[in-house]
Symmetry: C2
Subunit: 438 residues, 2 copies
């Protein structure tokens, strides 16, 4: 007897049993359907790219996480997000694409992080981006949250709020305080306010060399409240004359007005001046999305506007806007908290069970008829007894079993059994069965 290898996978990699995989695929398909309903085009870039190309921009923490290796003469890396491949793609194919270019990509990305709860090394990102050539109308900034709204409405995982802000408002405000050189650090600190609390943010700002007076002004600023119109009014009432700030407030007003025009219920979004997004390339509108009952999930869908996607690859300026759903993490959080649960472990809607060998041709024919009518159907071909066959149907989790024996064959019927009990078992024609199964 040979030595056995223990069949195991690496920590940080998600693999599901069939019932959970069906649930995951339902979410995946729902997101894809909404993305496509807005006309986004599919894209599928390679998982492995040349390191020189993929890491043109990367550095620091990101670069450490990359799965990077040598194969033959090539220095290769596995993609760590879908944004860099998009930048490479639109740069290479700019002449073949139509701008604004709306694309979705829903694929795995790889980050060799230290494994910890809720962190994955291989995970699905579900991204949409709209890329302009030289320019991209501000109204596209309002279409993004409209897509998010429809995705989360359709996923049906509870009330949610899309929080929007504008990096120009933040940037302009800090410029006006004379803190332009500290903007990145301050934004990163502010971004953590929900995680670490107000007091720690104050401490960190002081540590960054912000005066107590400015720290107070910053805290007042990011805690401006009220409805949309009130917040815009409060921002204007600050009397800040910095051009970037004024432009940012105008953009925020335009985008949030347009969101209402786009049919988004006001309870599903709000302006939140604390949102900065840690990444350094957002330049305008930014978004985060929270499940109201589960703020501890963090943002389940984030993104924003960037001035130039493709600076590392081409001189063409390509502004864009994008959002991303980290589906693997979201699925894992929802499942662990019981917010989603598998409805079935079966893709087939019906298992056709021939009672004996003679019934097999009729069973096969019945299953073919079901399939031709759009009903996924499985047939059990084993030679076990009826009790074993019914046990198989039960374990499979299939909603209906269609049992076929000599009587059924003689009368051209089948015994349709509701495996969940409800409708019991009854003798029906194949046509009647199709109606019930549909």
């Amino acid at each position: 007897m040979q030595n056995k290898v223990t069949p195991r996978i690496l920590p940080g990699f998600m693999e599901l049993l069939p019932a959970d995989q069906i649930l995951f695929n339902d979410m995946y398909d729902t997101i894809r359907e909404v993305y496509e309903s807005f006309g986004f085009l599919p894209l599928d870039t390679p998982i492995i790219e040349l390191s020189e190309v993929l890491l043109a921009k990367a550095g620091g923490e990101t670069e450490k996480q990359i799965y990077r290796f040598q194969k033959g003469d090539n220095d290769l890396s596995m993609r760590f997000d879908l944004t860099v491949p998009l930048a490479r793609y639109v740069s290479a194919h700019a002449n073949d694409l139509v701008f604004p270019f709306k694309r979705y990509q829903m694929s795995k990305v790889f980050r060799g992080e230290r494994p910890q709860k809720g962190r994955f090394r291989e995970f699905y990102q579900c991204d949409i981006d709209i890329i302009g050539s030289e320019e991209l109308d501000i109204l596209y900034d309002a279409e993004m949250p409209a897509v998010i709204y429809h995705v989360f409405k359709k996923l049906g995982i509870g009330d949610f709020t899309i929080r929007i802000n504008n990096r120009k408002v933040l940037g302009g405000f800090f410029s006006a305080l004379g803190l332009a050189d500290k903007i990145e650090d301050i934004l990163r600190t502010i971004d953590k306010i929900e995680k670490i609390g107000r007091e720690k943010v104050i401490d960190e700002l002081i540590k960054l060399g912000v005066t107590e007076a400015d720290t107070a002004r910053i805290l007042d600023f990011i805690t401006i409240t009220g409805d949309r119109a009130q917040m815009i009014a409060s921002l204007r009432a600050l009397g800040i004359e910095d051009e970037t700030f004024i432009l940012g407030v105008n953009e925020l007003e335009t985008v949030s007005d347009a969101m209402v025009m786009f049919g988004m219920p006001e309870e599903n979004f709000r302006i939140d001046l604390t949102i900065a997004r840690g990444l350094d390339y957002y330049t305008g509108t930014v978004y985060e999305t929270v499940i109201n009952e589960h703020p501890e999930f963090g943002s389940v869908c984030s993104g924003g506007r960037y001035d130039n996607l493709t600076g590392y690859y081409t001189d063409k300026r390509m502004p864009g806007i994008g959002i991303s759903i980290g589906l693997t993490r979201l699925f894992s959080q929802l499942r662990d908290n019981g917010l989603i649960a598998p409805k079935t472990g079966s893709i087939a809607k019906v298992l056709v069970i021939p009672m004996d060998k003679e019934a097999i041709p009729f069973a096969v024919n019945t299953a073919n008829t079901f399939r031709a009518n759009g009903i996924p159907a499985d047939v059990y071909y084993g030679t076990k007894g009826m009790k074993q066959k019914m046990k198989y149907a039960a374990r499979l989790g299939v909603p209906f079993a269609a049992i076929i024996g000599a009587d059924e064959m003689a009368s051209g019927t089948l015994a349709l059994k509701d495996m969940n009990g409800g409708a019991g078992q009854r003798t029906v024609t194949v046509d009647e069965a199709i109606e019930i199964l549909k």
Copy 2:
């Protein structure tokens, strides 16, 4: 100005423009739909696995092609097929799965081959397998080609023939000749007969030490012709008393009879005694599929029966049967030969175009109504002139444009333009537009 990195990908990696990607996804979705119609369950294993686990069986050529690398303390490999991960999965989860376990997986696999035309380093495999626990009824061997039949019928890429054979017939025949120790080499040689021709096969057999008399008998054997019943009769008429041979002929008869019973037209399959499949783990029924008009494509869907999938991981015996479609290669062959071509570069069925700023709310509302009725709809938000807007619609390849100006808003209508010419442009209500677009 910074130095630019040339935006490029590696040879052997396929990346498509949107119109081709839509076409590819249509094929992918069709295959998935057929797989699911037979009740196969989805599976999504990690792309990266521990080398120790993934390479338990590998060796020789396969191992050289693996993308294998070190990350931290881990020796990692990227999967090179979907069969080894399946073996690992069913071994690890045997207690949680229901057998026969029918699963599909349609994902990328990776082989660092020397790049050449038609060979890919990253490509989609679309696999189905049915795994039994200790046993698996022979009728499942007939279900596999039924699935293949429906896939290729639905893909609509021309007439095709599923060729079936049985390894036991081959094995038993060679045992009877006293060539049991040379079986693997002989089968490998026979497998090449379509590629290298009859004469070269004879040369190679002689080189293997097969006598001229036996070589003649082998050639006679593999060129047995006739319809199904005739071939089975001819095989039996050989009078070979080897038990494996007799079992194999019986299996071949059972499976091919069942294929007819499963509703497969006889013109779509035939017994072909030359088919051995190069891999060493098939033990019974084997399949290949050829597009009749394009034998040079080679087999576009292959597979077979294996006695034990999981020997490297568990003592449980798990026989199974599986097939695989190499979708990336097939797509590439079909497209390069003009057998498929993109119908559209657009996911949206209609582009809603507001003539001016005032028309935007009505346009947005109209697009929302289209989407709510299951019609993917895009809206153009740019501020360019009408000529530019129509040019955008044309380049996008969207089938219809819905133009909205002051007149349309006043009358609650839109100007629906057939971008392909056919129906011209006419003023319709939103409800009428929905009917047309559906």
